[in-house]
């Protein structure tokens, strides 16, 4: 690191620290130490440090524009042949992602002031959001796989704590646990990969790993089995983070958490997971063609499965969260095909638009106390900011009108069509499903006649409306931002026919969304086939049941078996042996109630006897 670097660059490592410091700053209120005053100062302090992070981030971007990408590197722990470092890659892509994270965090924190206005544990919420933001900022900047893993695990922890925010709510108890464990499965597999990489490749810097992986593949230093296992381990972590099939269920359950956290989770957390995958891809690809195939398959299943399941959800949050799984499936396909540029554009377009959708959802929940699409309806024009958020957010994640999604889909189709027409079909079909879902939800919430729970629905309070409107504007501007980030070849670098195809798939989606019967309260179709299908999708292909049978029950049975072994075999054997020396044991019991001084005597006698024994041995030896 040269000393000539501008100050904002030198201190870029502070940006994640801002978030973490927010957590520490919240502690006096979160811990209940300040009892007479309310918790809001913690929120204001967090907003302040997040604002600092945003400003510092933009200063860094300005400097990087001027002098090009930089690398920051600090020694953390060194022992023998192991050198663990904290490295930050200050490339424009990473910094753009950083700005996405910090800006979204800022917007969400303002929004949370409104959404959680009657929440007494506000300080704890902000402490967790600060922690969350710090970990995410670090993940996107990180230049080595160790730091990435380190921070991903912190994300897992903060997800657990955020989902578990309303810890007294019965479903939260299981949701937080499942969110943690599902992600943890991915994390442990990733850790296996990281440990193996650390042992084999030495350096854990992504750039060194790229070189090593290419060489290792060329020279056959890593066997096909080891390479495949390594590749699968490395992609498992991001799969968990991005809620990809079969590790997608946690996102559904995580919807029990507070909505502002859901906004971040569905937009930037999944983005962080995908960015880690992007960085890992040049390591995975040369070593393991199978892992790449798995990425494509998982992405396809998630994209289509998520899209279908979303259509059958009656819960408004879940209807969109499955959309996240679906969309990230597309990102996985893009990453699997080594299209990092398009993948990043997809993530940007998705992150902002999905966040906007979830802000709209939060507004509906706060106003109606209801998440059930069958009980919502007829809000009409009473909530303009929310309606716009639904429409613009929906348009942003789909390719219906030329907002962010449209251009990404066009670029992607252009790449896919020659080599992978079937994947191109997956994109179009996913777009159809997503659009249909957006239209379905829009109809359910705003169309029709007002229902009891939507009879009195004033627009949400200004602290929610303001960030929502700002983000609406931002989503509308996404194509311009994309054009700036990716000037060559430009976001419109695809033939008009492809654009038309994308639009057509969107229109087909609109048609399907309009034709789908509106969910009535607790209704099920009378036709058995439709009913089976409806249930299959509504209950997420019965994944919870699958989990229970394939993972939970076996682990529980093995645990019970081990306990049985421990109680009957091991303990039985010990007690049996013990019975042989029963008299001794009884004698010991007796002494306990006897004179305590005798213990000391026993002690001294014991030591003397020991010494005598040595003397005796010595005699035996000499």
């Amino acid at each position: 690191m040269s000393a000539a670097l501008p100050l904002p660059l030198q201190f870029t490592w502070l940006i994640p620290v801002y978030g973490f410091s927010g957590m520490l700053l919240s502690l006096p209120w979160a811990s209940g130490w300040i009892k007479r005053n309310g918790p809001r100062p913690a929120a204001y302090l967090n907003l302040l440090v997040t604002l600092l992070a945003v400003i510092h981030g933009s200063l860094v971007i300005r400097d990087v524009f001027a002098i090009g990408p930089q690398h920051l590197d600090f020694a953390w722990f060194k022992a023998a042949d192991l050198d663990l470092r904290l490295g930050f890659d200050l490339s424009l892509t990473n910094l753009a992602a950083l700005e996405l994270v910090t800006t979204m965090s800022l917007i969400c924190q303002v929004y949370a002031l409104g959404y959680l206005d009657k929440e007494w544990s506000l300080a704890r919420f902000y402490a967790l959001i600060g922690f969350f933001e710090g970990a995410m900022s670090g993940v996107v900047l990180s230049s080595n796989v160790f730091l990435s893993y380190f921070l991903l695990e912190m994300l897992t922890l903060s997800t657990y704590l955020l989902v578990g925010f309303w810890y007294a709510q019965p479903l939260v108890v299981t949701a937080a646990r499942d969110a943690f464990l599902t992600k943890r499965v991915g994390d442990v597999l990733l850790l296996m990969g990281v440990v193996a990489l650390a042992a084999w490749a030495g350096s854990l810097e992504f750039n060194d790993l790229y070189v090593w992986a290419a060489e290792a593949a060329n020279q056959g230093r890593v066997g096909p089995l080891a390479g495949t296992l390594l590749g699968l381990g490395l992609i498992a972590g991001p799969m968990g983070k991005c809620a990809q099939f079969p590790m997608h269920l946690w996102l559904d359950e995580a919807m029990e958490g507070p909505n502002p956290a859901s906004i971040l989770r569905n937009s930037v957390v999944v983005t962080c997971g995908a960015i880690v995958l992007l960085k890992l891809m040049p390591v995975v690809a040369p070593l393991s063609p199978l892992a790449t195939q798995v990425l494509l398959v998982v992405g396809t299943i998630s994209a289509l499965g998520g899209g279908l399941v979303a259509l059958a959800q009656v819960d408004i949050k879940r209807a969109f969260s499955y959309g996240t799984t679906s969309y990230l499936g597309l990102v996985f396909i893009a990453i699997g095909l080594q299209q990092p540029g398009i993948a990043l554009l997809l993530l940007l377009a998705h992150g902002l638009a999905r966040a906007l959708q979830f802000m709209g959802v939060g507004s509906i929940i706060a106003t109606t106390n209801c998440q059930d699409l069958t009980e919502l309806g007829g809000i009409g024009t009473r909530m303009p900011a929310t309606l716009l958020a639904f429409m613009v957010g929906g348009a942003g994640v789909t390719a219906l009108v030329p907002l962010g999604g449209f251009w990404c889909f066009g670029l992607m189709l252009n790449v896919l069509l020659p080599a992978h027409p079937q994947l191109a079909a997956v994109f179009l079909l996913t777009n159809l499903l997503t659009t249909a879902n957006v239209i379905r939800v829009l109809r359910s919430v705003f169309g029709g006649a007002p229902l009891p729970k939507t009879r009195r629905t004033p627009e949400c309070n200004w602290l929610m409306a303001l960030p929502m409107v700002s983000l609406t504007v931002l989503v509308l501007l996404v194509p311009l931002i994309m054009q700036r980030i990716d000037p060559v070849p430009g976001i419109a670098a695809f033939p008009p026919a492809l654009g038309l195809a994308v639009l057509l798939s969107g229109c087909a989606g609109v048609l399907v969304g309009c034709l789908l019967p509106k969910d009535e309260f607790w209704s099920r179709s009378r036709q058995p086939v439709v009913r089976v299908l409806q249930d299959l999708l509504a209950y997420d292909f019965y994944t919870p049941e699958l989990y229970r049978r394939i993972i939970v029950m076996p682990v529980a049975s093995i645990a019970r078996f081990v306990l049985w072994v421990d109680r009957t075999l091991v303990k039985g054997l010990v007690d049996g042996v013990g019975r042989l020396s029963l008299s001794t044991a009884e004698g010991l019991k007796l002494t306990i109630s006897g004179q305590l001084q005798s213990y000391v005597l026993t002690l001294i006698v014991g030591i003397l006897m020991l010494l005598a024994a040595f003397q005796w041995f010595r005699g035996g030896l000499s």
Binding site: P41, W120, W166, P258, I316, N369, Q371, P384
Partner: protein, 380 residues
């Protein structure tokens, strides 16, 4: 297996429908008459009265001075923009007006009673049109939004009307509770039956108070709830308030899952039982429990007598706000008791069988509803 020691958990028996009905019909109070109860109820209502005073002032300020303000940054400051006040606001050294808004939302959303019906009337729509026309002339944003989203502003005006009405209701209640505390200090109220009777008399006296609400736009006065709507204190505001806040309430995010597939929340709002008489005090101050804000506000205005009483019990200062919630629940049963007594169809002393039957039916309806509430707090 470890044995759970008995002093760690404590449960009082709930009262059944018959017992509640009996107490109502014999003129006995729902809450048993003990000196501890008297202290708890009067003192907690005194702090509640002071909090309601602030709530009432702010709600009326919001409805009148922050009317249709899209970015009401200073809505909790009651127009006082001194640096000291802003600092106290930022330091959260203040009343939690958010809870007042929460009650307003509950009342508006549940939408029962005469005022709610008036909000859907053509007369009200005409008032709205006049107000919006006047407002749009000075506010280009509203002028743009109203044609695009015609239902937007009327809904906000309805909400403001409820806000103002609740402010008026709480004005009366605040005065009532502070008067009660004065009467107790003066010695004219010494028992729980006297507390209930005091409140009943005050409610009956205020029953016919008119509820009106008008706003000033550019110096011109507009009625939102005009006198000719004939809205009155008891039936149009107090009864819907009891229905929305005491009985139905809104599900707490901290204890109930909103997940549609879990179906934990009834689709019928009339079946809701999350109100003040039903809520579990134990999770108070936990995450996702909005009444925590009220408990905090009352904690900050707690009379010393009751504060000392709390310090001597269970965890002392450590769980004081849960104890406030428990006392508050008892007090709310007394208020409900007074309201039921005040609205009993016929005098309890009547000897006319038809009147007795009407009273019985009325008492039974209430007893059935209350029996599912936390009547365990009434006995001890």
């Amino acid at each position: 297996m470890p044995v759970i020691s008995a002093e760690l958990v404590h449960a009082d028996p709930s009262l059944g429908v018959e017992e509640l009905q009996r107490r109502l019909l014999t003129g006995q109070t729902l809450l048993s008459d003990t000196p501890d109860h008297l202290l708890e109820v009067v003192a907690v209502l005194e702090s509640y009265g002071e909090v309601l005073d602030a709530y009432s002032i702010n709600l009326i300020y919001q409805a009148e001075k922050q009317f249709l303000n899209p970015v009401p940054i200073f809505k909790y400051l009651d127009g006082d923009l001194s640096l000291a006040k802003i600092w106290r606001h930022l330091n959260h050294d203040r009343i939690n007006f958010e809870y007042a808004e929460y009650c307003q939302k509950a009342m508006f959303w549940h939408g029962t009673g005469g005022m709610d019906a008036y909000l859907d009337s053509p007369e009200f729509a005409a008032n709205c049109r006049a107000i919006i026309a006047a407002k749009s002339r000075r506010d280009p944003l509203l002028a743009l939004l109203n044609p695009l989203f015609p239902a937007f502003l009327p809904e906000l005006i309805r909400s403001a009307a409820t806000t103002h009405a609740l402010g008026q209701f709480w004005r009366v209640m605040s005065d009532l509770f502070l008067d009660l505390a004065r009467a107790e200090r003066a010695g004219s109220v010494r028992t729980i039956p006297q507390v209930v009777a005091f409140m009943k008399d005050a409610l009956v006296a205020a029953a016919a108070n008119p509820i009106r609400y008008g706003v000033a736009i550019a110096g011109q006065h507009f009625w939102v709830l005009p006198p000719e709507a004939n809205l009155t204190f008891l039936v149009d505001v107090a009864v819907p308030y009891v229905e929305a806040v005491f009985l139905r309430g809104m599900p707490f995010l901290g204890t109930v899952s909103f997940n549609a597939q879990a179906q934990q929340i009834s689709p019928d709002q009339a079946q809701f039982a999350y109100g003040a008489l039903y809520a579990d005090p134990l999770p108070s101050m936990g995450a996702g429990i909005p009444p925590s804000l009220l408990m905090q506000d009352m904690y900050r205005h707690l009379p010393e007598s009751l504060h000392q009483w709390y310090r001597d019990r269970t965890r002392g200062e450590g769980d004081v706000r849960v104890k406030i919630c428990m006392s508050f629940q008892k007090a709310m049963f007394c208020v409900t008791n007074a309201a039921i007594n005040g609205t009993m169809p016929h005098p309890l002393e009547t000897s006319d069988p038809a009147q007795q039957a009407a009273n019985r039916a009325y008492a039974q309806a209430w007893a059935t509803r209350l029996a599912a509430g936390r009547t365990d707090c009434l006995a001890s």
